[in-house]
């Protein structure tokens, strides 16, 4: 079947003309050319390449549902009531809220998976060091997103978790005044704290996150996907790859669809709960614990505190922590590429050790509080 259009009203000619008009002004064709030539390596470990895209998708879900929550959320003394209205009165409010909370947790999980897969593929090696550092920055921002968002409903759990979370760095010498003056806005978690966390959560963090994400994605486009050492060891002729457009992009979208369905099922079957309103005069209920992504740090501090009691223990804990974090960030500097395909086994062992420690501490932490 052939459609006949008059030469003037042929829609494909019209599209072409619009494209040429725009391209002549913005010079977009090099970008399109780059995108159409982009290749994604295909090998045994290729499925890890999806995780960055999963993080991106979940961030978009956070922005969209976050903006929807802003329509009815009121910070200040009304905060708890507004979240109660969202959860129980406004139609589908429970759904929007559940999607935001579930997707937040999935996002942090996906960022962790992404980071460890990048680590074990040694994708931080030259020239990708800045990708590693910008990624660490994004993970840090995600965790602050989670910590600040957690307080916003101002229910009991939020209140005590934030109290404990702010009290930990406070035990360090000299920190007490700073936390109180800058973060908590007073000696107690109260309306002043909530207002700051709200500003952080919806203005400051998105404003920092967006450009950092932009840099991260730009670097990924610039450098392409890294090959794991096992692939790099192969001669060039034996390596396989698929075009990004349309093959890999289609697969990316299929994965996003799966993630969307997972969120929908979780949000519908396990809607996010709302506790009783925070009451500073009520004793803490049992089982107050940090979000799972803070559990390993929390537990490490607790265990160290048992070995070395008092302020010294706290100090040792935070010191050890800072050291581990610095080492983690500096990995691209000491595990450099000397010969193609060289594996750097010590770094891999270090990574395994960190991964096992994080999982073990999280599990122990949950066993202790539950």
């Amino acid at each position: 079947m052939e459609r006949r259009w008059s030469p003037v009203f042929n829609p494909s000619n019209l599209l072409k003309a619009i494209w040429q008009w725009v391209d002549a002004r913005l010079d977009l064709s090099p970008i399109v050319k780059h995108a159409s030539e982009k290749q994604v390596p295909e090998h045994r470990h290729s499925s890890w390449y999806y995780w960055g895209g999963i993080c991106l998708f979940l961030f978009v879900v956070q922005v969209l549902t976050g903006v929807l929550l802003m329509v009815y959320y009121r910070s200040g003394p009304d905060a708890y009531d507004s979240v109660r209205e969202i959860t129980y009165q406004i139609r589908f409010g429970w759904l929007i809220r559940s999607v935001h909370a579930w997707s937040a947790n999935l996002m942090i999980f996906a960022v962790f998976v992404h980071m460890f897969s990048v680590f074990f593929m040694k994708a931080y090696r030259q020239p990708r060091e800045f990708g590693w550092w910008s990624g660490l920055g994004l993970l840090g921002l995600c965790m602050v997103f989670g910590f600040s968002g957690y307080l916003l409903p101002m229910d009991e759990l939020a209140f005590f978790a934030t109290r404990v979370g702010l009290a930990i760095p406070e035990t360090l010498p000299g920190m007490s005044g700073i936390i109180s003056a800058v973060l908590r806005g007073g000696p107690e978690v109260a309306s002043a704290t909530l207002q700051r966390f709200f500003a952080l959560h919806v203005v400051v963090l998105p404003a920092l996150f967006a450009p950092l994400l932009g840099i991260h994605l730009w670097l990924v486009q610039k450098h392409g996907n890294a090959l794991p050492p096992s692939e790099e060891a192969k001669p060039e002729a034996e390596r396989k790859s698929v075009p990004f457009f349309p093959n890999f992009a289609m697969r990316d979208m299929a994965v996003w669809l799966i993630v969307l369905n997972v969120i929908a099922v979780l949000a519908a079957l396990f809607p996010w709960q709302l506790d009783a309103a925070a009451d500073p005069l009520k004793p803490a209920p049992p089982g107050i614990h940090p979000e799972w992504y803070f559990m390993s740090q929390f537990e490490a501090l607790k265990l160290l505190g048992r070995v070395i009691p008092g302020t010294l223990g706290e100090f040792a804990g935070v010191g050890l922590f800072t050291l581990a974090l610095l080492m983690w960030a500096a990995v691209p500097l000491f595990d450099t590429r000397t010969a193609p395909g060289q594996r750097g086994r010590n770094t891999t062992l270090f990574g395994l050790l960190v991964l096992i420690a994080v999982i073990a501490l999280t599990v122990i932490g949950y066993i202790e509080v539950l």
């Binding site: 329509v71 009815y72 406004i90 589908f92």
Partner: protein, 152 residues
């Protein structure tokens, strides 16, 4: 695939239609809750405006001539105590572009500051200016210091 047999063209159309239909289902499954969520505020306000009657207490304290602003079904309304001790209740939403009108006891009129619309304070009828329609008049009964205002 220029040499593809006709069969595979129908097949391709079938697959494309299927994908488009599935996409439309997803869009609807997300769009519907989002629309309902956003619309909830307007619906709540509308439910509030469905009131049929408002009771105002202590109206005997209102000197004559003067007026009292109150809310009728979410919108501003006027209760006027005239110099002859009679009462009028009417909507205070200007029928031109929705400004809130004001009772002026000295000139015995209702005026809108936005574009100079003027209404009759007893009937709500148009006197001058751009408003195309009279103000909505309510039914009012005053007894025992209470004014019962209802829709006509």
């Amino acid at each position: 695939m220029s040499d593809a047999p006709e069969e595979s063209i129908t097949r391709r159309i079938f697959v494309r239609t299927g994908i488009a239909a599935a996409g439309a289902c997803y869009a609807a499954a997300m769009g519907y809750p989002v629309f309902q969520y956003l619309a909830a505020a307007a619906q709540k306000a509308e439910a509030e405006s469905a009131v049929k009657e408002v009771i105002l207490n202590d109206v005997e304290k209102l000197p004559a001539p003067s007026a009292l602003m109150f809310k009728f079904g979410g919108h501003p309304a006027l209760l006027i105590h005239h110099a002859d001790k009679s009462w009028t209740a009417l909507s205070a939403v200007c029928t031109h572009l929705g400004c809130t009108v004001e009772y002026d006891p000295h000139q015995e009129r209702i005026a809108c500051a936005c574009h100079g619309g003027v209404y009759n304070p007893h009937t709500g009828g148009n006197v001058s200016g751009p408003p195309p329609k009279p103000l909505t008049l309510f039914h009012v009964v005053v007894a025992d210091g209470k004014a019962v205002v209802s829709r006509v």
